[in-house]
Assembly symmetry: C2
Homo-oligomer: 430 residues x 2
Amino acid sequence: MVLKVVIIGAGFGGLRLARELNNKRGLEIVLIDKVNYHQFQPLLYQVATAGLDASNISFPLRKVFQRSKNVRIRLAELKEIVSAQNKIVTSNEEINYDILVLATGTETNFFGNQQLMEYAFPMKSTVEALQLRHNLIRNFEDALLVKDPGELQRLMNIVVVGGGPTGVELSGALAEMKRYVLPKDYPELDFGNMNIYLVEGGSKTLGNMSEKSAEDSQRYLTRLGVKLLTNTIVSNFDGSTVQLKDGNTIPAKTVIWAAGVTGAAPPGFDKALIARGNRLIVDRQMKLKGFTNIYVIGDLAYMETPKYPQGHPQLASVAIQQATSLARNLIRIINSDNKLEEFEYHDKGTMATVGRNLAVCDIPIPKAFGTKLHFGGFFAWLIWMSLHLMLILGVKNRFFVFSNWVYNYFTYDQSLRLIFPEFYKSRKKI
Amino acid sequence: MVLKVVIIGAGFGGLRLARELNNKRGLEIVLIDKVNYHQFQPLLYQVATAGLDASNISFPLRKVFQRSKNVRIRLAELKEIVSAQNKIVTSNEEINYDILVLATGTETNFFGNQQLMEYAFPMKSTVEALQLRHNLIRNFEDALLVKDPGELQRLMNIVVVGGGPTGVELSGALAEMKRYVLPKDYPELDFGNMNIYLVEGGSKTLGNMSEKSAEDSQRYLTRLGVKLLTNTIVSNFDGSTVQLKDGNTIPAKTVIWAAGVTGAAPPGFDKALIARGNRLIVDRQMKLKGFTNIYVIGDLAYMETPKYPQGHPQLASVAIQQATSLARNLIRIINSDNKLEEFEYHDKGTMATVGRNLAVCDIPIPKAFGTKLHFGGFFAWLIWMSLHLMLILGVKNRFFVFSNWVYNYFTYDQSLRLIFPEFYKSRKKI
């Protein structure tokens, strides 16, 4: 028996699953993604702020499976699932499957606001991070030419929306750019006038982490000079003015939207299968509700367990553990072993970095000692760096990211501030 | 007295001039370029063939002049020179000058053929090299889907036009990709069917180098499997078939045009000032014929000297030496020293690389011993690498290029084969 497994999406979940099934007898794998590389999303903010090259955190899929006997890669977009015929339709061709695994993750949620969608920058992909980088730099070039003080202020303000890890890390990195890099590059501009706003709807940043981590992150951000606006909702952005729900406005050309994601569920599924956040409801084996041969893993999957009655957090580590569990089950199926395992998430901790020497870290510990162990500051930052280095795919990328970080640490200054018009043209500007 | 020097173009000549005049009393410099980085053109072919990252050979101009007291940088395109009023008009503003230096180099010469201009890839800039890289990779992704053998052949053929250093280096690098990288990435494709043609109008490759170097390069190319067509002229390309002047055709989607350049002279100059190759005629002090305060340096300058009665070769070393000489003269002018020097080019040799361990190198020696000293093979390749490493701007870029080369040398395999749609969309495809 040969099972043909089609995996949609090569993020943390899909890629891990394909790697676990690589060269396993009885399995044929087709891995489909819109781009030809795995994107290491946790470091996208460093690509956007010109701290890392895009290639440092983008790993070509074909390279991962160069010696594979059973994994084929297709660069395509999923158009339709024809589950009655066990086939999918992509932008290029039709592909039959015995087992379909959806690992398409999430996409930026603009909550239906067309203007935000058009003018604010999302930051969920390498290309989006590059677009953001190019526009950031381009704005300072434009600022050199502007005579009107109001217009100048608009070019020098940056508004980050959303106080989760992405928003916190990005605004911290921008604050460091403002302090260490930009005044040297643009001596003609007064960076005292540059403001970085972090706007968060809730009462604190890093709301999903421990109380201590949330507090620390706020303290670090303030120390770096980020203007933190909590309990504040952005209602609109027309490309030059940010409208807040309380009636206030912020003049700014650059708004970065890190305020929410929504499951990138393929079209055509019954509403009964869709849970909060547009996620697909799965059982403890990641099997899509009501289907026998469609699985969902990672951010797109919604699974209720006694430990997580409202579903799992949307984290890389959940996706990776689900992929590993599903891989084991698929191998059991091939071996006609009917004792399939049920998924249980093992929380190994969460972390976020705010800036140089500044990070926060929560590690779960036995209940007797409290709920979470919290680290902050330099030590957390070291943990954060080591862990991310380990997670990056490929010795070479690891080496280059590490070299870049060391270089950055001592010089405060990268040389990646290149503008390729291809990237900033592609987003509409006022 | 303060002299305002406006330099157009931050290639080898313009950048060197600005660096020589950096922080010199009595001089105010404005350096203008279309892009915000210096492009290290000799290694563009390695960017195109995914051997180096674009950022490795692109150095941000603002970083070079971060601590400068007298150099300002403007990202703009030159639109017009109003010499009667000593001012230029750029895409952004008007700028007055006391002294204007044109260092705009050359651009790709398609000899007026509109179809070639539309479908063939030039490779004179970082962005063009990236466009080429993305299309090369994209073609193999497309080849996986194609059923028609003729169409498959079109996708797998690459035609390089022009047997100068660019054409030779590029076709050598493509041949190595074909041998070492592509079969591992695309096990489903038969690379026995991939052909790399190098089409040269003259009777040999590297026609400007010594007879020995020309012979060696041809031998190396053949050894690498490049199909060399000398005495062959490309007359047209419609995006899927290359038309040769002798009536033959080559089916190919990818044509790289390295067959000629033309001086990027700003519009509006009298025809009497323009020499062969659209270059501007200058005197021995790089002063534009008939002008007192406009200079031209580098590839755009045409200067006849007793040693070079038909002008200098268009090489980085000429541009750099002219920039240094002009800088000395400008400093003399500021110091009211009327003894200005006349330019004399000191040929330190020329070289080209064909592939791994394969390069050619001509070094001038005293007449008594012959005309040129010739090296080939591994030793020439080592010289080539060391010299290019030294020429690259910035310790960090040098380190990263070196690391990339070492990695490549031992693994035969980079991980830069990423497709960003922004780049391949920007060129028309059939």
